[in-house]
């Protein structure tokens, strides 16, 4: 019963991260998102599939192996829309004029961690492998790569929309330091958990040194903890940046990232009622580097001349 809720729940957590990442990659690659409709439909597919994969949390609960196989299939199938999204992200980046700003770096960090977490997910989706790694640190590594990986999308979103929320820019240099430290020590903290898991390190274990077979692996635990402590400490850069920018950051203009979507036509921060006038939308949100205009962005509400409008479909 718990997992009938629980698995949709983890997709509740990851879907907004995917949406935010899609927007950011397109904006900072100065390219339309690759496969917009495929992105939207794969989200719907993930949402639907998330209802029929919950059994994979209970492979070793004594369920009928046939049922386990069915859940194994659905779980494998959910990798398909996820992979569609990942390849579309790569397709968006391909040949783009990428601007490596702090939010973009965090969005890229989310994508790379999501790939690692997704690949380890395929291992545990298959029942024979899962019986071996069930409730080990391999699982802990997997869900930290995806769920704690969401923190990357979260930071990306904060850096990206901070100017719109508070009317001031965040400091780019501090943001980049924050990204580099977070990315290195995130992987330092969570990647060795795969090794521990394969070595049989149980999840939710109190004292690993009590087990003889884990003693040779204890140095990894120390390594993970040191990484995690530095990871925690590097968040100070974020906190300092956040609160300093809140009061003393550079004043933000309306559209600091030269983005197309409607929130950027409002002032930063938007007043009560958001827009000076009701915006009217003429096109999709990802018309970057359009040949219709001189700039490399084309806001959704910008009305082009009659000739251009006729050429646009």
């Amino acid at each position: 019963m718990f997992w009938f809720f629980g698995h949709p729940e983890v997709y509740i957590l990851v879907l907004p991260a995917m949406g935010v990442t899609s927007d950011l990659l397109s904006t900072f690659s100065r390219k339309p998102i690759f496969g917009y409709h495929a992105m939207a439909f794969s989200m719907i597919a993930i949402a639907f599939l998330s209802w029929i994969v919950w059994g994979h949390h209970m492979f070793v609960s004594g369920m009928n192996p046939l049922l386990g196989t069915a859940f194994m299939m659905t779980t494998m199938v959910i990798a398909v829309p996820s992979a569609i999204k990942t390849f579309n992200w790569l397709g968006t980046l391909w040949g783009g004029n990428i601007r490596f700003t702090a939010p973009m770096l965090f969005a890229l960090g989310f994508v790379s961690n999501f790939i690692i977490g997704g690949l380890s997910g395929i291992f545990m989706a298959s029942t024979p492998v899962d019986i071996y790694i069930h409730d080990t640190y391999y699982i802990v590594a997997h869900f930290h790569y995806v769920v704690a990986g969401i923190i990357f999308a979260l930071f990306a979103a904060v850096y990206y929309w901070f100017p719109k929320m508070f009317g001031r820019m965040m400091n780019e240099k501090l943001g980049k330091i924050h990204f580099v430290l977070t990315y290195i020590f995130f992987n330092g903290a969570f990647f060795p958990m795969h090794f521990l898991g394969v070595a049989g390190h149980m999840r939710r274990i109190y004292n690993p040194t009590q087990y003889e077979f884990l003693q040779p692996m204890q140095h990894w635990n120390v390594f993970i903890t040191v990484s995690a402590l530095i990871l925690g400490a590097s968040q100070i850069f974020f906190l300092v940046n956040f609160f300093w920018s809140l009061f003393a950051g550079k004043k933000a203009e309306r559209n600091p990232w030269q983005s197309n979507t409607l929130e950027w036509i409002a002032t930063s921060p938007p007043p009560h009622g958001n827009f000076e006038a009701q915006p009217v939308v003429y096109r999709g949100p990802y018309e970057y580097s359009s040949p219709e205009v001189k700039e490399d962005w084309l806001p959704q509400d910008k009305q082009l001349g009659a000739g251009a409008a006729a050429r646009a479909h």
């Binding site: 718990f2 629980g6 997709y11 992105m39 690993p208 993970i224 958001n274 949100p285």
Partner: protein, 283 residues
């Protein structure tokens, strides 16, 4: 030119909003942007707590049964001069997961950016139900307070893992946690109501209040993802709330949804897990 006229008209129409006091502007605000900021600060505050718990867990794993620096102030029997006993360790990872999932990622990704971005990105003035929106935040905040309060009750906070499997979660004697687990259940039920109100609001706003010309396939993917998320929330949360209610009844009213009552003394892990697993299949 017409833009400025419209802007003036909008300003005139909303001049009375300038009179809102501190309380209505920053605390009990119905403005989606302020509610979004409130969710952001709630999430960041909880991130600090959840992160601290993670550091304590990692300390225990790397240097087992040594004193965690800076935590010697926590009284026995929860910690012994900074040394984490097994029961507290169970509580730590349970609360770390619960806080990170329900009070960091959900408030920030769904609560904060959902509230802040949906009306702005689809080009509308506010959410469909601004007051419901305010209620959603404050109900969520109450849930956070209940969750944090569980740190201070006798027996400490919930210690059955964030998955709260019966029988660990259904019987106080297995984890040694009585009140903490009840508060954990109550807090998540309250949070469920908060998220439910939020998701109803998101769905209604996206379906009804898109700007002229903003068809579904002109929406930014962030809005698409929040739309799909809101539908998932709407469908998934009643299941969780029902399961939590059943667990709470098992714990307090003596029902036996998750754990067989007969032969309670012999209610070993395997029989109970078998029965609860079967139940999960049936339901």
């Amino acid at each position: 030119m017409s833009d400025t006229v419209a802007a003036d008209a909008a300003h005139a129409a909303h001049a009375h909003h300038e009179e809102l006091g501190f309380l209505r502007t920053y605390v009990f605000s119905t403005d989606h942007k302020m509610i979004g900021r409130q969710f952001l600060f709630l999430g960041l505050f909880m991130l600090l707590i959840g992160g601290t718990l993670a550091m304590m867990i990692r300390w225990e794993l790397a240097w087992p049964e040594t004193a965690v620096p800076g935590f010697s102030f926590i009284p026995e029997p929860y910690m012994y001069g900074g040394i984490i006993p097994p029961q507290t360790y169970n509580a730590l990872f349970t609360m770390h997961a619960t806080i990170m999932i329900f009070f960091v990622v959900m408030p920030i990704m769904v609560g904060c950016f959902g509230n802040f971005l949906i009306p702005l990105m689809i080009g509308t003035r506010d959410m469909a139900f601004p007051k419901l929106n305010m209620l959603s935040f404050w109900v969520g905040a109450v849930s956070g307070v209940v969750m944090l309060a569980s740190f201070f009750v006798p027996g400490g906070p919930a210690a059955s893992g964030w998955t709260a499997y019966a029988t660990l979660s259904a019987k106080a004697q297995y984890t040694g946690v009585d009140w903490g687990q009840d508060l954990w259940i109550i807090s998540l039920m309250i949070l469920g109501i908060s998220s439910l109100m939020g998701s109803i609001n998101y769905i209604t706003t996206i379906v009804n209040m898109r700007a002229p010309g903003m068809s579904y396939f002109r929406m930014p993917l962030t809005v698409w993802s929040l739309f799909v998320t809101a539908i998932l929330l709407l469908l998934a949360l009643p299941v969780l709330t029902a399961a939590l209610a059943m667990l709470l009844f098992d714990r307090t009213l003596g029902t036996s949804f998750f754990c067989r009552k007969v032969e309670e003394s012999r209610c070993s892990g395997s029989t109970c897990f078998g029965s609860s697993a079967t139940r999960r299949f049936i339901s």
